[in-house]
């Protein structure tokens, strides 16, 4: 195998950008899609996951419907639905940039998974916690805010870390709707330079670096928010 990495410094044909510049900007797009989608996923996932555990049947049912809708359709199909089908039904959405569409698509998909974890976290707490909160005179929302959710989130932090890493990897579907992120860069650059192995190695390393940083950062958060003596709290 003879390596050739110099092509990264070659111009892509527009006279100013090199393949390296292009890859860095593609990395930026990957992180931007993943980052924004994570905000959407965490926000919606937390709300929906919490609603799934409330006593109101209608709210819980609606939240269940959300989760089942978004986790039962393949991600790529969802992205196409958002990009091609929804705008045909709602014409004003034609003007919405594909970045927003893919952030919503990926965010909602991941929100269903986050919601499941938040629900599991809340349900893993003993029923006494909720009853004790209510008995103290807290309202139901206050019980969630001060008693249940702080513990539930600590418990589900490890699976949430996996989800955050997943969203970076899943952001590769954005190539299908014309976002020039890392996967699209890989496909196009390997075609233009025919150095596929080098291109894919470089792109793979960037994905690994990104997910490892997220992993380490959230592991740090995990140790910082640990409650001594409680579940996962250590000594």
């Amino acid at each position: 195998m003879n390596w050739e990495w110099q092509f990264f410094l070659r111009d892509i044909g527009d006279g100013e950008t090199t393949y390296l510049d292009w890859m860095i900007s593609a990395w930026g797009w990957t992180l931007a899609v993943a980052g924004c989608a994570w905000v959407v996923a965490l926000l919606f996932g937390s709300i929906i996951g919490t609603l799934r555990t409330v006593p109101n049947r209608w709210l819980a049912g609606a939240a269940n419907a959300w989760v089942e809708l978004f986790r039962n359709i393949p991600l790529l199909v969802q992205i196409f639905l958002w990009y091609f089908v929804v705008p045909t039904l709602v014409p004003p959405l034609q003007q919405v940039p594909s970045f927003i569409m893919v952030v919503l698509g990926l965010g909602f998909f991941t929100s269903a998974r986050v919601a499941e974890q938040v629900r599991a976290g809340i349900q893993s707490l003993s029923r006494g916690q909720r009853n004790a909160g209510l008995a103290l005179g807290l309202t139901l929302p206050q019980t969630y805010r001060f008693v249940l959710l702080p513990m539930a989130f600590r418990i589900v932090l490890p699976p949430l870390t996996s989800e955050a890493m997943n969203i970076i990897k899943n952001s590769s579907v954005a190539f299908a709707v014309s976002i020039s992120e890392l996967t699209m860069f890989a496909m196009q650059a390997q075609e233009e330079t025919s150095r596929g192995i080098e291109v894919y190695l470089a792109v793979t390393s960037l994905y690994i670096v990104s997910t490892m940083v997220v992993n380490r950062a959230l592991a740090y958060v995990e140790t910082r928010v640990r409650v001594p003596g409680y579940v996962g709290g250590g000594k």
Partner: protein, 305 residues
């Protein structure tokens, strides 16, 4: 320490694997030998590169290059002395070269541009089609030239030479347009159809094929300057003189006997499946010249003219 030894084990395993893989690659260098041993030949085909190579549904493939390759495979059957089974494997713009190199596909019969970069990795048969890169627009858009694309959105397909062509042209014309990349040709056309893009820049035959199969073919037209001229040919593994000879002899014979011109008429000027419409693309002067005097020169040889 444990971690380091585990790491070393992974690396050793990787090295062994890659050695094993290269080993098989060397063992399979001649396609004819491989075909003789296995009794089959794997044709790489495209899903939506009508009329060169496309699916007619139910895992059936047809097109100008598919017919051409069937003739080539007949010749290979004669050469190896037994009737070969033809197995169809769909390929995409992105995976066709790796799949041809690693032996997943023996003969790629799609719409692959023969250019100097690709010649480093694969071999091409004699040029059997010349494509002109132009653009498809909605007939109602009023766009007739590249100059009118300023401020518009232009679609093309990821993993094709058109992306580079477009990039170079954008720089030369100082036009300022937004690029959209479809993941395959059908997708890029959908971008125009759904109004997300104003034009789709691609090989004229592919555009013509997509338009012929559109819901309302009259709504679209192919317009604008020719952005580049590209020789299209069938593709197979590099450094395989036996294969190259069979492919070229077959094509040369078909060119001399007029069979190739007949094949052209069948696919480009007559109604074709699935909708029985014609793409109606008469043979250009370059291809007529090539039939009289065949060659397998890459795209770069045409750009200098």
């Amino acid at each position: 320490m444990k971690l380091i030894s585990a790491f070393a084990a992974v690396i050793t395993l990787g090295a062994t694997l890659s050695a094993a893989l290269t080993g098989t690659a060397i063992a399979q260098t001649t396609t004819l030998k491989k075909a003789q041993d296995s009794g089959e030949i794997i044709m790489g085909v495209r899903e939506s590169s009508s009329p060169l190579s496309f699916t007619t549904g139910n895992n059936q493939f047809a097109g100008y290059h598919v017919d051409l390759c069937l003739a080539i495979i007949d010749k290979i059957s004669q050469t190896v002395g037994k009737k070969l089974n033809v197995k169809y494997t769909p390929v995409t713009s992105q995976n066709r070269i790796p799949l041809t190199q690693n032996g997943t596909v023996d003969l790629e019969c799609g719409s692959t541009t023969n250019n100097a970069t690709r010649q480093k990795d694969v071999s091409f048969g004699l040029t059997t089609y010349m494509t002109e890169v132009r653009m498809a627009v909605k007939a109602s858009s009023g766009i007739t030239s590249i100059a009118q694309l300023n401020g518009k959105t232009v679609a093309t397909t990821t993993g094709t030479t058109s992306v580079q062509t477009l990039r170079k042209h954008q720089r030369a014309a100082k036009a300022n347009f937004k690029e959209l990349f479809g993941k395959d040709h059908a997708d890029s056309f959908l971008l125009v159809e759904s109004g997300r893009a104003d034009a789709f820049v691609m090989d004229d035959n592919i555009l013509a094929g997509l338009i012929a199969n559109a819901k309302n073919p009259k709504d679209y037209k192919i317009v604008g300057e020719v952005l580049s001229v590209e020789p299209i040919a069938v593709m197979f593994r590099k450094d395989d003189p036996g294969m190259k000879r069979v492919v070229d002899i077959t094509i040369r014979e078909m060119m001399e006997s007029g069979a190739l011109t007949k094949l052209y008429t069948k696919w480009f000027l007559s109604p074709i499946p699935p909708k029985n419409t014609s793409v109606n693309l008469p043979m250009g002067a370059t291809l007529k010249g090539l039939i009289k005097d065949p060659n397998d020169k890459p795209m770069e040889a045409y750009a200098t003219k």
